[in-house]
């Protein structure tokens, strides 16, 4: 009787879970990169002297911060085909996560720029720095340094939010753990494994980001507050 039932050995399930974790990391990193690529111009637009650009930047932020990510995923995957834009699951998920995280990243970056006293701009000018040099050597390092903790927060946030992507058919860590539980009815074991993997990924992400933060902070005096 039980010959047609079969059992999946735990080692096979573990391998499936690790592949799911790989998908989670891949879709999140793609989203973070895309998000940063969008966030930089959106942030620049919000800080622009031109009113129209400021408006466009603000509009972007309010739309993508204001619509739940789950709904954005559903729109990208299910509504865009009706306007002729057919996206594979993984691409749809990465884009939806990316355009959402971009709104938050843009605000984090903007916060970083706002702490720079206007005098730095003037001083750079006085020292003969051109606009590009001013950005490269004076403004950007300070802004990134100031925004770094918030940006890391956002990265970890989007990695966790990537657990929603199964609604568009991406077999991420959450989805494969659900599939495994559907098969073997061991929710405590496999959901705990998934939780441990998420934690491990985020600890690695935080450690990497911590190193980057220290590099950004090189040459800064350590001041006790």
């Amino acid at each position: 009787m039980s010959e047609f039932l079969g059992t999946t050995p735990a080692i096979v399930n573990l391998r499936v879970l690790l592949i799911g974790a790989g998908i989670t990391v891949a879709v999140s990193l793609a989203a973070i990169a895309l998000g940063f690529a969008i966030a930089a111009p959106v942030c620049a637009a919000r800080l622009s002297r031109h009113r129209a650009l400021r408006g466009a930047g603000a509009l972007y932020v309010s739309i993508f911060r204001g619509v739940p990510l789950l709904v954005q995923l559903l729109v990208v995957y299910y509504a865009l085909p009706f306007v002729g834009l057919e996206l594979p699951s993984f691409v749809a998920a990465a884009i939806a996560l990316g355009i959402c995280t971009a709104a938050y990243q843009a605000e984090n970056l903007r916060g970083g720029f706002l702490i720079i006293p206007p005098g730095h701009h003037t001083a750079a000018h006085a020292f003969g720095y051109g606009p590009v040099q001013t950005w490269r050597y004076i403004l950007l390092p300070q802004a990134l340094r100031a925004a770094a903790p918030a940006l890391v927060n956002e990265m970890i946030g989007i990695l966790k939010a990537s657990s929603l992507v199964s609604v568009v058919g991406v077999a991420d860590l959450t989805r494969v753990s659900q599939n495994i539980v559907a098969r073997n009815m061991q929710p405590i074991l496999w959901y705990s494994m998934a939780a441990a993997l998420y934690l491990a990924i985020n600890l690695a992400l935080a450690a990497t980001a911590g190193t980057a933060e220290r590099r950004l902070g090189r040459g800064m005096a350590r001041v006790a507050l």
């Binding site: 592949i19 969008i38 972007y60 299910y78 599939n179 009815m185």
Partner: protein
């Protein structure tokens, strides 16, 4: 094709450019008028499913397996195409079919009035009569009507949920609550945890669950109207050829005994399904 709708966020410039670039890369030529010819030309049929519905479709390691998978892989072979499986949460499967994310749904889908209005459905591939499953050590439920006054559950968007709700209304005291779950595994997990007293779904799934998980026990007899599972296609003129081909294949595999063999393999017993005069669903 509906009138192109402007999606609000397309006004943001970077995204607009990105979308335009993606459109250039990804827009496929307009769909052929003949879905079957289109599939054969591609050499691949994309089947949408939900791999949490043992014994019809589920995962063994990372491989889709089950009754539907066995039968549809054979059909694909006959049609000379490879089968590609796409796994989605159940509530997303039919919307994704409409968004043309795949050629058809190959998942045990109960034939219902509402679905027949909106979709084309194949010949029945399984019995979907509704039954309940409970914890084996729960002595308070021995027949379906014992769920009176208790918390019971079924799955979101399923015909079984509707049949359960209708059945609950016929009980003098009704039930305490009908909980609705996204996936059957969540419902079974809550049944095991004691948050619900019984879960309603189609009988073959329950018999299979009982065999693999002795902590659960099916409550017999099944209740509600006779119901059947079938596969689903978009109701558009181009899918007619595919529907006819799949139906002809189902009949062929019924006549040569393949379906019976697969039923014994996956359900432990064979079931006769109606191919002529299929009873019209009452729900």
């Amino acid at each position: 094709m509906t009138t192109p709708r402007r999606v609000g966020f397309a006004t943001a410039k970077p995204l607009y450019l990105l979308a335009a670039a993606a459109a250039l890369l990804l827009t496929r030529p307009a769909a052929a008028q003949d879905a079957l010819a289109d599939i054969k030309q591609r050499g691949e049929i994309v089947a949408g499913t939900e791999l949490q519905f043992a014994p019809f479709e589920f995962l063994e390691g990372d491989k889709p397996v089950g009754f539907d998978v066995d039968l549809f892989e054979r059909i694909g072979k006959d049609l000379g195409v490879k089968v590609k499986w796409v796994d989605l949460p159940w509530a997303s499967v039919l919307p994704a079919l409409e968004a043309k994310k795949f050629d058809m749904v190959v998942a045990g889908t109960t034939i219902s009035k509402a679905r027949l209005e909106r979709y084309d459905m194949t010949l029945p591939i399984g019995d979907a009569t509704v039954a309940l499953i409970k914890r084996a050590d729960d002595k308070a439920i021995t027949k379906p009507s014992d769920i009176q006054g208790k918390v019971v559950a079924s799955m979101k968007g399923s015909a079984q949920l509707q049949i359960l709700q209708d059945y609950a209304k016929t009980l003098p005291g009704g039930v305490a609550e009908v909980k609705v779950y996204i996936g059957s595994s969540n419902a079974y997990a809550d049944l095991a945890a004691g948050r619900v007293e019984a879960v309603a779904t189609s009988l073959p799934n329950l018999l299979y669950l009982q065999k693999t998980q002795p902590m659960f026990e099916t409550v017999l007899p099944p209740f509600g109207p006779p119901a059947y599972l079938a596969w689903v296609l978009r109701k558009t003129p181009d899918t007619k050829t595919l529907l006819d081909a799949v139906n002809a294949e189902i009949k062929k595999f019924d006549q040569d005994g393949t379906i019976k063999e697969l039923q014994i393999k996956w359900f432990g017993k064979d079931v006769t399904l109606p191919y002529e005069n299929i009873p019209a669903p009452t729900y």
